[in-house]
Each structure stands twice: as C-alpha cells, then as structure tokens.
C-alpha cells in the first residue's frame, strides 16, 4: 500500500486514485454524472449532499447505483 495513492473498490472493481481523492473524484474518473447516481460506502447509503466531498479511504467498497425503470 502506497501513501501517495488510494485504492477503492468501485462496484467490485479496484480503482486507484491519488491520495486525498474523494468519492466525487472517483465518480468523475468513471464518467458518472453525480446527479444521476446514488452512492453506498461500505454498505451504508450516503446522502447526495455529502458524498461528493467525502474522502476515499484505502479499501473502501463504493457502490454506484442508478434509479432505473421497474415495476
């Protein structure tokens, strides 16, 4: 584990970003528009108002979820 980077699991896939990166940075890295997604960090739902600025910790499991069509 290096101190100048942080690795998190995004929907099950490891992604490494520079240390200090936020969940918002991770979403941007993956090309996800913040408005359209919901976020869970280590099984806990995060409010839309708070997740973009939340710093990533090493090994965080981040789930990006969409609201989609359904019955």
């Amino acid at each position: 584990m290096s101190t100048d980077s942080v690795t998190a699991l995004a929907n099950g896939t490891p992604v490494t970003l520079p240390a200090g990166a936020t969940i918002g940075d991770l979403a941007a890295h993956l090309g996800l528009a913040p408005k359209a997604i919901l976020v869970e960090r280590n099984g806990e739902a995060l409010l839309r108002s708070e997740w973009p600025a939340r710093p990533l910790s090493e090994g965080d499991r981040i789930e990006f979820i969409r609201m989609v069509a359904g019955g």
Binding site: V39, L47, M67
Partner: protein, 274 residues
C-alpha cells in the same frame, strides 16, 4: 356545509391525496418516449422505479437514468426493492433510494425465487417493521394473504399491495376470494398489484372495493402503450364509480329474468278479445 363531490373520490395514502387510482410501473417499455406517453395517457400520479448497480462499461442504456424521463415534481416516485432476497437487503435498498432526497416512499418487494417472483412474507414483515421505524412510507407487495395484510397494517405500513396473479402473467384476479377478505379487513388502502392483464381486470378490482391498482406489463408491452394506458385509466375510473355508486346485486343462477322494457301488448290480440 360542503357539497358532496361526485364520484370517484380521491385516493389518500399516508395523508397524501391522489386523483388517480392507477399506479404504473416503468419497466418493459420499448422506449423512454413510449413510457412517457403512456404515463401521460394513464393519468397516473405514482410511478414505480427500481435501483440497479451502475454499469461502468460505458455502454449506452437509454433507460439508465430514469430521472431524465420522469419529472419527480409531477409524479411521486415509488422506488421498489426488487432484487432484494431478504429483509436486510430490502432495507439497504430503501436507504439508498432515500439518499436521493426524494420523499421516503418505498414499494417493499422481496421475492427470492426468480421463477415465480412470489414475495417472501416473513422477510417482508421484518423489513416493513424496520422501515416504518425509520420513517419510511411503506407499501409492501405481498401474496394475497389476509393474515399477512393485517400484520403489515398493524406494524404501520401505509398500504398493502396484494397480487392478483404472479408478476407479468396478465391472468387477472386469480386471488379474488382472498382479495375480498383483505379489502374487508383493511384499515389502509389496498392496491392490487401484479397480474392485471386487461382493463376489465382493473375495473373488476375497483368494483370489488380495491382502492387502487398498479399496472406495468399490460401497458408496457401493448402495441400502443399510450392507448392501453388510456384504456386502463377509463377502466379504473369506471370500476371506482361503480363501487362508490353501489353495484346491483346478482340474481342466483337459474333465477327468472326481470324485464327492463314493457312487454308491449299490441303486437298480438289480448287473449280476452280472441
């Protein structure tokens, strides 16, 4: 003194008033445009949506962001917990849905068996209890089980949503006898969900006293979804007006017919004059 309103009366769920008694799903439509036109034609005010892991492959999915096609200021979005196999997963999905900042309404559905999609009553009751405690407006999708419906309303769900027939089967009111008991016992609105394949099924559901119906497949897979949505809208209104007005009771099989026209005497001479 207030003037009595003509039927149909509005639907009230958890203190919120709706003019439409037709809830619609958004799955299976051929295109977002067809969905939008159908929602418009249906007159619906409550629309279900689902949650799914975002696809990070970069492939374009026209339905990927439902909120670009449905205005949450116009429709009450009712996220479902479809995909949850147990209470814990359903609670997790509900919390995620709530993180969007929309009203905390949730269609609770837990169906572990992908073949019949029949809801798990035990996990549903456990999840309902938890979600009610967390301040959710809970609308649980259940089998047509009167005992379970009662248990759910007792823990504070805002409605119960018993199925007419398994999801997507279009077979109509197969559970009619059980639904009648649920309606008779209900202290919360009864929304008949799943299996309604024709406007006549929806009309029959409202005629028997269901407060509302939820329709998805029958509208979405029609050759013209907007036209079918309109047909369901008329059927729901017709069924509700008939229910509020009071249906005439049926005579037993074999009973004498009762004429609606005078059996006019002038076509044949009166027997006495022959």
């Amino acid at each position: 003194m207030t003037t009595p309103q003509p039927p149909p009366q509005p639907l009230v769920i958890a203190g919120r008033t709706f003019r439409s008694r037709l809830l619609t799903g958004t799955g299976k439509f051929p295109s977002p445009e067809a969905m939008r036109a159908a929602l418009e034609a249906s007159g619906t005010e409550i629309v279900t949506v689902a949650l799914r892991r975002a696809d990070l492959s970069g492939e374009h999915d026209p339905f990927a962001d439902i909120l670009t096609h449905i205005d949450p200021a116009r429709y009450l979005l009712l996220p479902n917990t479809s995909g949850a196999m147990n209470a814990a997963e359903a609670v997790r999905l509900a919390r995620l849905a709530a993180s969007a900042g929309l009203p905390k309404w949730i269609k609770l559905e837990i169906h572990p068996d992908p073949r019949h999609l029949l809801p798990d009553p035990i996990e549903t009751l456990l999840a309902a209890e938890q979600l009610v405690k967390e301040g959710f407006i809970v609308l649980p999708y259940i089998n047509a089980d009167p005992v379970l419906a009662k248990r759910l309303q007792d823990v504070g769900t805002a409605a119960v949503m018993p199925l007419a027939a398994p999801i997507g089967t279009n077979r109509g009111l197969e559970t009619r006898g059980q639904l009648e008991i649920i309606i008779e016992q209900a202290t919360v609105p009864v929304v008949i969900d799943a299996g309604l394949g024709a406007p006549s099924h929806a009309a029959a559901a409202l005629e028997m006293g269901a407060d509302a119906v939820l329709v998805n497949t029958a509208i979405a897979i029609a050759s013209d979804p907007a036209a079918m949505a309109h047909a369901f809208r008329l059927a729901v209104d017709a069924g509700r007006i008939a229910y509020e007005t009071g249906l005439a009771s049926a005579a037993p099989v074999g009973a004498k017919a009762s004429p609606t026209s005078p059996l006019t005497g002038f076509l044949r001479p009166e027997p006495a004059l022959r």
